[in-house]
């Protein structure tokens, strides 16, 4: 075993979670550097687990009760209020839709073509004329359709 491997296994060994501790212990027996490291880790582990608890202040629960009394009451579900809100939702939705429609009619660009079907057809035809239908139509296409550009 090398020192690197020893370092990786050291805490597992101290926690008693190392399945095969023989190689680990053999290395510790032979390496003074790792012996020192294990001694420090052992002392650390023991000290951490023996750290004392501190007594909570005796006034703690009284203080919490006081602060709870001062704090606004815990919000409870007010079904009447929820019901009113649910009932108001469709009305609110309708108002938003009306407002949107109103804005559209006053601010949207005037499209005269949409109002006159003939104009709309002309506009569509022009768009079709301008459109580049095929990157490179074959000559036979022009012959068979009689299409000219």
């Amino acid at each position: 075993m090398r020192c690197k491997r020893f370092e990786r296994q050291m805490w597992a060994y101290l926690e008693g979670q190392l399945a095969d501790a023989q190689a680990f212990e053999a290395h510790v027996g032979a390496c003074s550097r790792c012996q020192r490291q294990l001694a420090a880790a052992q002392a650390t582990y023991r000290a951490l687990h023996a750290l004392p608890r501190h007594r909570a202040p005796t006034t703690l629960s009284a203080q919490v009760r006081r602060r709870l009394a001062e704090a606004p009451a815990r919000p409870r579900l007010d079904w009447a209020r929820v019901g009113r809100r649910v009932a108001l939702a469709p009305v609110l939705g309708l108002l938003i839709a009306l407002a949107w429609w109103g804005w559209q009619t006053t601010h949207a660009p005037v499209n005269t073509a949409a109002e006159d079907p003939t104009e709309a057809l002309v506009e569509l035809h022009e768009q079709l004329e301008v459109a580049d239908w095929s990157p490179s139509p074959t000559p036979s296409y022009f012959i068979s359709t009689g299409y000219t550009r």
């Binding site: 420090a40 951490l48 004392p52 909570a56 629960s61 919490v64 602060r67 815990r74």
Partner: protein
């Protein structure tokens, strides 16, 4: 919820504790103040100790532990019991501590926490386990080592400190810490290794400077 309570020998104790807690939570949700008081009694010491080590100041710790319970009470309707009560309380406390440290970082640094003296300079009250009744010399050495460790904990970054305290001191499992902090178990393990390595470094430096007799006693 804690590692020792979920061991095979103590499994019935753990189940009992969880069911007692679940009943207390249900009663507290129904605004039974006595039940909430019992929850506070169950967790006050653990949370206060944890918060004190996180923030290093008794006054702030007292305020933060109050805030933890206050938020827990107000958040009880949202507590669905998927995590244990303890995990949930530690999560609230951890978030409060991290917020507190962020705020404090923007202010003037405060005097660091001393392991053996409270704010008035009086010796702090310790609750040693009954089986720990070492001889006076050993006790003095333990205290010295404890002070080294406490000081080293104080120098850790909040990320490392949280994991170290929750695992090695509060004895939560990797999974519970992952839930408290919302991080993967691999990250918990990696942070724990880094934290332990830093503490170990401080202890190694202390041992290197100590006389051989002290080293031998500490190593015992």
């Amino acid at each position: 919820m804690f590692r020792e309570t979920v061991s095979l020998s103590g499994s019935s104790v753990a189940v009992d504790t969880l069911s007692v807690e679940a009943r207390l939570v249900e009663r507290a949700k129904a605004q039974d103040e006595a039940a909430f008081e019992q929850i506070m009694n169950l967790y006050a010491e653990r949370l206060y100790t944890y918060i004190l080590r996180m923030v290093g100041n008794a006054t702030d710790a007292e305020d933060l532990v109050q805030e933890t319970f206050l938020r827990a009470y107000q958040g009880l309707p949202c507590f669905d019991g998927r995590a244990s009560l303890g995990t949930w309380l530690y999560r609230i406390a951890t978030n409060l501590c991290i917020d507190h440290q962020r705020r404090r970082a923007r202010r003037v640094p405060t005097v660091s926490y001393s392991a053996h003296n409270d704010e008035d300079g009086e010796p702090a009250e310790w609750d040693f386990p009954d089986h720990q009744t070492p001889n006076p010399l050993q006790a003095a050495l333990n205290r010295e080592l404890e002070a080294v460790v406490e000081e080293a904990i104080g120098t850790l970054s909040p990320k490392l400190k949280t994991v170290l305290l929750l695992y090695d001191v509060e004895e939560l499992s990797y999974e519970e810490i992952g839930r408290v902090l919302g991080i993967p178990i691999g990250t918990v393990k990696s942070r724990l290794n880094h934290a332990r390595a830093q503490i170990q470094k401080a202890v190694a430096a202390y041992l290197a400077d100590a006389p051989a007799a002290v080293q031998a006693r500490v190593a015992k």
